[in-house]
């Protein structure tokens, strides 16, 4: 016996018997165990029990035998695995990036919601998008908003067609907001007030070209231009309209627009011209009112009572007002009024002229 063999006792052998039975011990170890078993009855009995247990376990029917002795289960599993592999091997469906692919998938899975969504989108597009496009498109022949960019050329003005003038008071400003729907080279809507040079340009052009624009539009233009009477271009247009416009209502409106500048020489001269040459008595009366107002500073009071030839006694007020016109010009006004009082075909004009002479009379006395 070798010294190593002497060390192997029952306590060492017992745990090795499990591996000895299933042949999982090394060659040298096996020999040592075998030698010990040959001399040890207890360990041999334990080995016999181990073998019996091992044999019993090995002989016991196994689940694999019970469930698949015929191999049908295996065939079934192979078939299922092949199907799973087919799914794995199949080329991915439309893996390329597609815009709105998520929307396609969402709609495919929810047809009812998709239909409702499409109807909603259609309604929104019809009610909101189409009008917006009409308003903003420059190629559809529809009007566009232009806020006073470049002045219009003479060609544009001469070809211009105005389809509407809207004047609305603008909060916080003396000048009303004006909206002109104009068709020149392209349809446009001019929006602004009389302070805009382009707006003034168009309005004065309309006033000066009475043959191209109807009286109603010219009246609207004069109404708008009234706030810019100090502008030279506007003043010229108003004076021209007061003298030459074919429509008396327009001439009267032009005179009214000139009220704030009635004391100026050019306006006064226009008023005198109107008194001498205008064929319409109403216009002449308006001119008388403005003249009197410009002379005594009571233009407003005079203009509001044109139908009262027996004018209220204003000399007291007039006497305090300083004469604005030079003496010869004042004389010319009186002379014109006296002429009207004597020769005007309209009785109403004659009466109004008499009242005006009485009104300015006290100053003449002074």
């Amino acid at each position: 016996m070798s010294p190593f063999e002497k060390k192997l006792n029952c306590k060492d052998v017992a745990p090795l018997l499990v591996f000895y039975v299933c042949e999982e011990v090394g060659e040298s170890e096996r020999e040592l165990i075998a030698t010990h078993l040959a001399n040890c009855h207890a360990c041999s009995e334990q080995l016999a029990e181990e073998k019996e247990f091992h044999s019993a376990l090995s002989c016991a029917p196994q689940s694999s035998d019970q469930f698949d002795a015929s191999g049908i289960l295996l065939s079934q599993f192979r078939s299922e695995l092949a199907e799973a592999l087919d799914d794995l091997s199949a080329p991915p469906l439309q893996e390329h990036w597609r815009p709105f692919g998520w929307l396609h998938r969402w709609m495919a899975l929810r047809p009812v919601w998709s239909g409702a969504l499409l109807v909603l989108v259609g309604v929104l597009a019809g009610t909101q998008l189409v009008p917006w496009l009409r308003q903003n498109s420059s190629n559809t022949g529809q009007a566009m908003n232009v806020r006073a960019p470049q002045p219009l050329t003479q060609d544009q003005l001469s070809n211009m067609v105005v389809s509407g003038v809207n004047i609305s008071p603008s909060p916080g400003s003396d000048s009303p907001t004006i909206q002109l729907q104009v068709s020149a080279e392209q349809p446009m809507v001019l929006t602004g007030n009389v302070d805009d040079s382009r707006m003034r340009q168009v309005l004065t052009y309309m006033v000066q070209n009475s043959e191209r624009f109807d009286a109603g539009m010219r009246l609207d233009c004069l109404d708008a231009l009234k706030a810019a009477v100090r502008d030279q271009q506007v003043r010229g247009a108003l004076l021209n309209a007061a003298r030459k416009d074919q429509n008396p209502a327009v001439r009267m409106k032009a005179l009214e627009a000139l009220r704030d500048a009635a004391g100026d020489d050019d306006v006064r001269q226009a008023l005198l011209d109107t008194l001498e040459h205008d064929t319409n008595p109403g216009v002449r009366v308006e001119a008388v009112n403005l003249l009197v107002g410009s002379l005594d500073g009571e233009a407003l009071g005079a203009s509001t009572a044109p139908e009262a030839p027996e004018a209220p006694e204003a000399p007291v007020v007039a006497s305090t007002a300083a004469p604005r016109a030079p003496g010869d010009e004042f004389e010319h006004v009186v002379k014109v009024l006296q002429e009207l009082q004597r020769r005007d075909p309209s009785r109403y004009v004659r009466l109004r002229s008499a009242a005006a002479l009485r009104q300015i009379g006290p100053r003449e006395v002074q």
Binding site: P15, E52, A60, S63, Q66, F67, L74, L81
Partner: protein, 225 residues
């Protein structure tokens, strides 16, 4: 059956198209390929080669799965999950061990996962398999797959089922790893080194697991006969 004109145009002078010829050659030669060549073919994307690999090893895989899981439904899950993992990860196999070992590593890991999940859910334990009520809870399909050989001795069959049920109950006492080691050693006949490779552990660890498993089973079962 007459071939369409386009097929005839593609056919070579022998009357067979080239691709068909190659496919036939591949099909006939696959079973003759050794394991390494077959794996290489499968890694190259040859689906037929992979299926041949499955056919070579899946019987042992199913046997292990059935013995460990005790339920055909669970065994099916293990079978499919394991081979799909192999299919997806085949390109990572570098021939550093045998394919069989690599396959068993995957299968045992899947089994361990299932056993651990089952252990965490007591309501999901495997049914007791004894002669009295072993048929409960088994689906019709799997019921049809049972062995009903009339030549077997009924008395012996009953005794075998009784022993099997006792063993199944005793196996439930083992940890998942101990069960896998015991199963692979006793019923698959694998060497401890191979089991260690499959489980990704040392032979010594496997030895300890086998020893503990055997002791537990002996205590539970006592004398089986």
């Amino acid at each position: 059956m007459q071939l369409p004109r386009w097929a005839l145009a593609l056919a070579d002078e022998n009357g067979c198209s080239g691709s068909t010829n190659a496919a036939l050659a591949t099909m006939t030669s696959l079973p003759n390929l050794d394991e390494r060549a077959l794996v290489a073919e499968a890694q190259a994307g040859n689906r037929a080669a992979f299926e041949e690999l499955v056919r070579r090893f899946d019987r042992d895989v199913l046997r292990l799965a059935l013995n460990l899981m005790k339920r055909p439904e669970d065994a099916r899950d293990v079978y499919q999950e394991a081979f799909l993992k192999v299919y997806r990860n085949l390109h990572r196999f570098r021939f550093e061990c045998s394919f069989y070992t690599w396959l068993y590593r995957i299968v045992t890991n899947v089994c361990l996962d299932h056993l651990r999940r089952r252990q965490a859910r007591p309501e999901d334990q495997a049914p007791e398999l004894n002669a009295g009520h072993h048929e409960e809870g088994i689906t019709d399909f799997f019921e049809r797959q049972r062995e009903h050989r009339p030549t077997l001795d009924p008395e012996r069959s009953m005794m075998g089922l009784e022993i099997k049920a006792r063993i199944a109950r005793a196996m439930e006492r083992l940890s998942p790893r101990e069960r896998v080691v015991f199963e692979m050693k006793h019923y698959q006949g694998l060497k401890l080194r191979a089991i260690g490779d499959a489980l990704g552990t040392t032979e010594e660890t496997v030895k300890n697991s086998l020893f503990r498993a055997t002791r537990k089973l002996r205590n539970e079962l006592g004398g089986l006969r």
